[in-house]
Symmetry: C3
Subunit: 150 residues, 3 copies
Amino acid sequence: MNSIESQLQKLGLALPEAKPPVGNYLGSKRIGELLFASGRVSDCVGAVGSDITIEKAKEAARDTVLIVLSIIKQDIKDLDLIVGVIKMTGFVRSSENFTQQPKVIDGASDLLIELFKESGHHARTATGVTQLPFGASVQLDIIFQMKPIV
Amino acid sequence: MNSIESQLQKLGLALPEAKPPVGNYLGSKRIGELLFASGRVSDCVGAVGSDITIEKAKEAARDTVLIVLSIIKQDIKDLDLIVGVIKMTGFVRSSENFTQQPKVIDGASDLLIELFKESGHHARTATGVTQLPFGASVQLDIIFQMKPIV
Amino acid sequence: MNSIESQLQKLGLALPEAKPPVGNYLGSKRIGELLFASGRVSDCVGAVGSDITIEKAKEAARDTVLIVLSIIKQDIKDLDLIVGVIKMTGFVRSSENFTQQPKVIDGASDLLIELFKESGHHARTATGVTQLPFGASVQLDIIFQMKPIV
């Protein structure tokens, strides 16, 4: 077991089964040291602030990181090829007056930092949308940094 | 005629006339092998799921790829300098209950893959917004990979 | 004083005090020549087209550039390490029928070009959302180009 997955185990978390993309696209694509992971949505559905609470949405954001990592593992086989996290864009399906998108996306940022330590710290944009694929509450779009190919 | 444009011709498609940016920005900007194309909207207007159907929106997504390519051609002159597609973000103007954004953006992904073949496969995020510039139905933001400058 | 800050002074503008991120993320993260600045929102709140005018929103977009630069200065110390601007994504909190997002984001583009001159020209996507963190009117997500590290 690699260090990222043993770290997950220590946190009592596990990668879900990798679900295939829901359209004609890749799970991720690499160029140089950048790995662009396709946006993935939470299993949790509903608008934050009306249908679901901020606490539940934060957990959904954390769990969506696991969904993203499960797809990437399928693509690159070994998650330890990831050096760190560069940038995350988090889309939060927000009720009309919900303005705490950053708190929701912290659920994802916290886990990325627990897993990748110092190099897990990242730039981020958290924004509010009214609708997401399948009515999901959260969608994450992450750019990772990969080990250079030698 | 280069191979991308002859491919378009085979598909019965043609690049529209390149429309200038609607603000103070470039059509695209290159850094290293990455070419960031500015977001472009479909000529097709209306919210998907209420004003227009998913089939029409999918066509609009496909046609927006042509709009993006027409702008890039103006910038780089020869579309064969593009090696492939790295990442696409698709914004779909969605009615309140419309949650099939990925199906709409497949219209764009399908064409990119037809044009750029294996290297046209890309990472992708499809998300839902309530409003887009000029009331358009679809907006595409694409990062292409360019041939290295030798 | 470096040239970017003296340029700001000539324009009668000044960097605000750098506000810390409102969640568990960095102000910016660099990889190679790319500097990803975290998304920052305007102090100006309200939906454009209903709560606030397009002119006010355009100013808010301009002022948000200053907020972004103040954070980056804290991270990299010297803004003259920035070579230029690659890509900006502008999220505009839009009232139901507001479709002039590009005009709003021009407020940010205009300033970036005034500050970074020729290399300040950038690719851009301006899109519409219904809600933003803290109810802000504008959110900017910018990728800058940095001087190579020698």
